[in-house]
């Protein structure tokens, strides 16, 4: 045998699996290689996520050029074997996830060194990379049981990551997430079991073809109900959100950023995928009118998330409740189920990953330099950390939906989609939530820029001078902030992809 150019061509055909295997390999190498030198873990994580990002980009281009890519594990033909599918829809999400995790890894070096005990850093990166591998797997797999396995891989590494938070409350946050997450995942696997009973297959494409004949069977409807409840628990839709605020508040900064940017987004993606590509739009709109319930639940989530965020004093907790509201936007667009609204929903997956990831990175930088997490203590921080706070302001404007930012684009598509579907009464919900978002972010911006120094900042070294976070943190944060504006001004690229993905989902 020879390692000629053909080796690389054939390996290029395996991109869908390499996207997962490379973070996995790096995750397992991290504890071994770190014995040679302590800081190797970070380099390994950065390299692995960067390679995964490049591979996911190449996959996205392949999909845009040549349509859906299907990969057979071990060359076993689907529906028997496990199939990895990359379509317009998940290729887009995959690239977003890979990109965000790369940026957050790049950002996190100093933050991890400060917040994680030194001897645990190799294992931290191991769990971190495993988490990313799991998330990539969720996005890319075409087999519904494999999906469950990846959900659990992500969740298990997530529990470990959360528990590494400094505060002992992180332990309880992790434990409660474990209990609720397991309930969610078990409901998911129960639903999958019912689908298997009804159809005898686990491949998503195969399920989509076999299910329509038996849509009126109670088995299928039960399966759907279990899967929906399980996923809604995992993605923290409003009444099932109670695990989320503590998790985001007490986990290490980089983990908060990663989880806020990827994990709930990916679960929302799975919800969309199961609603529209395992079941069909016909099923969710007509046979079981779940979209109507989902619209109501999303509206409640949007309003309640913003309302509770108004009352928070801890900035991480405020962002967490804001996330709960934003998840409502994603599910709302999916529930309206027109092409425009769906585009808004999908583009919001990207936008919210950008914005919320960035905001948590800002908070991470503030915690790194000052240890402040209370909004009141942040007074006067605008002079001390000008660049970081500038990024925060851009993020806040984006969250509100200010024109020329990404937040505006997704809200625009959602609102026009709602009007187009004749659901004009949803527009006030979006508007009210935007106003509330403006209120709770304004509170922070006001105390950062327009108040004197807080007593807390006076206790730090040289309180009068600006004391910016390390270069790597500031640059990555500002880069994401720049993207928030860039994709707000020149949105055509992602919108085009999201439109195609929406059309693909709705089967038109």
């Amino acid at each position: 045998m020879s390692f000629g150019p053909t080796t690389f061509i054939s390996a290029a055909g395996s991109t869908p699996v390499l996207v997962i295997v490379i973070p996995l390999l790096a995750a397992m190498l991290a504890p071994i290689v770190s014995r040679i030198h302590r800081s190797v873990g970070w380099y390994l994580a950065t390299t692995a996520t960067f390679i995964a990002f490049l591979l996911s980009l190449s996959l996205l281009y392949t999909v845009i050029d040549g349509g859906t890519v299907s990969y057979r594990m071990g060359s076993w033909a689907p529906p028997m074997g496990i199939e990895y599918v990359v379509s317009y829809f998940n290729g887009f999400v995959l690239a977003v996830i890979a990109f965000i995790s790369f940026i957050i890894t790049l950002y996190g070096k100093k933050s991890v060194e400060q917040e994680i005990p030194e001897q645990k850093i190799p294992f931290f990166y191991s769990a971190y990379l495993l988490f990313i591998a799991g998330i990539m797997g969720i996005v890319i797999t075409g087999d519904i049981f494999n999906l469950y396995v990846f959900v659990e891989i992500t969740a298990l590494s997530g529990y470990a990551l959360i528990a590494m938070g400094k505060d002992r409350k992180a332990l309880m946050a992790s434990y409660n997430y474990l209990i609720l997450g397991t309930i969610g995942a078990t409901f998911l696997v129960l639903g999958i079991g019912y689908l298997y009973i009804a159809t005898g297959t686990l491949n998503m494409n195969d399920l989509m073809q076999r299910l329509p004949e038996i849509y009126d069977s109670t088995t299928v409807i039960t399966a759907f109900a279990f899967i929906m409840v399980g996923l809604c628990l995992k993605l923290a839709l409003f009444p099932l959100h109670i695990w989320l605020p503590n998790v985001y508040t007490y986990s290490p900064s980089i983990v908060s950023a990663l989880m806020a940017a990827t994990s709930t987004k990916v679960m929302a993606f799975v919800l969309l995928r199961i609603m529209f590509t395992v079941f069909t739009p016909e099923f969710v709109l007509e046979v079981v009118p779940v979209t109507k319930i989902l619209i109501v639940m999303s509206c409640v989530a949007i309003i309640m998330g913003s309302l509770i965020a108004l009352g928070q004093t801890n900035i991480k907790r405020m962002l967490a409740y804001s996330s709960i509201g934003q998840i409502g936007y994603i599910t709302l667009g999916a529930a309206i189920a027109t092409e425009t609204a769906m585009t808004g929903s999908l583009i919001h997956i990207l936008n919210h990953a950008l914005m919320k990831g960035m905001l948590f990175m800002v908070v991470g930088a503030v915690v790194y330099k000052t240890g402040i997490v209370n909004i009141k203590d942040m007074e006067g921080l605008g002079k001390r950390m000008p660049w970081t706070m500038a990024a925060f302001t851009i993020g806040a404007m984006s969250m509100i939906g200010f024109p020329f930012t990404v937040g505006f684009i997704s809200k625009w598509y959602l609102a026009t989609g709602a009007i187009g579907a004749g659901m004009w009464y949803l527009v006030p919900v979006l508007l009210v939530s935007s106003i509330m978002t403006a209120f709770y972010f304004w509170r922070v911006v006001e105390s950062v820029y327009f108040k004197g120094r807080s007593a807390r900042i006076d206790t730090l070294k040289s309180p009068h001078h600006s004391d910016e976070a390390p270069f790597g943190m500031v640059v990555t944060t500002l880069f994401l902030a720049g993207l928030c504006i860039y994709f707000g001004l020149w949105a055509s690229g992602p919108v085009e992809v999201a439109k195609n993905a929406a059309a693909f989902l709705l089967g038109s």
Partner: protein, 152 residues
């Protein structure tokens, strides 16, 4: 725990057999019930039995923390590495028969034999990898949860 002479003697006698049986289960995993997971659990259980009989300290001198950490990683690396080897040989991930390389090309009993062998050896490698991971993870979990000292 030093006075439990019966437990120690019986454990000493029984542990080699348990370990031998675990290897048997791993080795027969490709064509009959058994395999890496079950074999690994049995192997891990034998070590746990040893620790229960002889105490944590003695157990850690036999199976050090570094060793279990390495085993955790190496098992998965073996698994993923075999998968990657299949990719490099021009097949799909975990397509073991491609491991035969050029010997598996063409027709005839020779090529068929090579493919058959490659398939079996591929699965053996995977089973051994899983066995290593499962055994070491069981041992690690046992040590970590049984550890009552305050060293975090």
């Amino acid at each position: 725990m030093s006075e439990h002479i019966v437990i120690k003697r019986v454990s000493n006698f029984i542990i080699p057999f348990i370990q031998l049986f675990s290897l048997y289960v791993i080795a027969h995993g490709d064509i009959s019930p058994g395999g890496g997971f079950q074999g690994g659990v049995i192997f891990g259980a034998s070590i746990i039995l040893y620790v229960i009989a002889f105490g944590m300290k003695d157990g850690r001198t036999r199976i050090s923390e570094i060793l279990t950490d390495f085993m955790n990683s190496i098992g998965v690396l073996l698994f993923a590495g075999i998968g990657l080897a299949c990719v490099i040989m021009g097949g799909a991930y975990l397509e073991y028969t491609k491991l035969a390389g050029s010997a598996g090309e063409g027709h005839g009993s020779h090529a068929e034999h090579a493919l058959h062998l490659a398939g079996h050896l591929g699965i053996y490698g995977i089973e051994i990898g899983i066995g290593i991971v499962v055994a070491s993870v069981m041992i690690t979990i046992f040590f970590e949860t049984a550890n009552t000292q305050d060293d975090d």
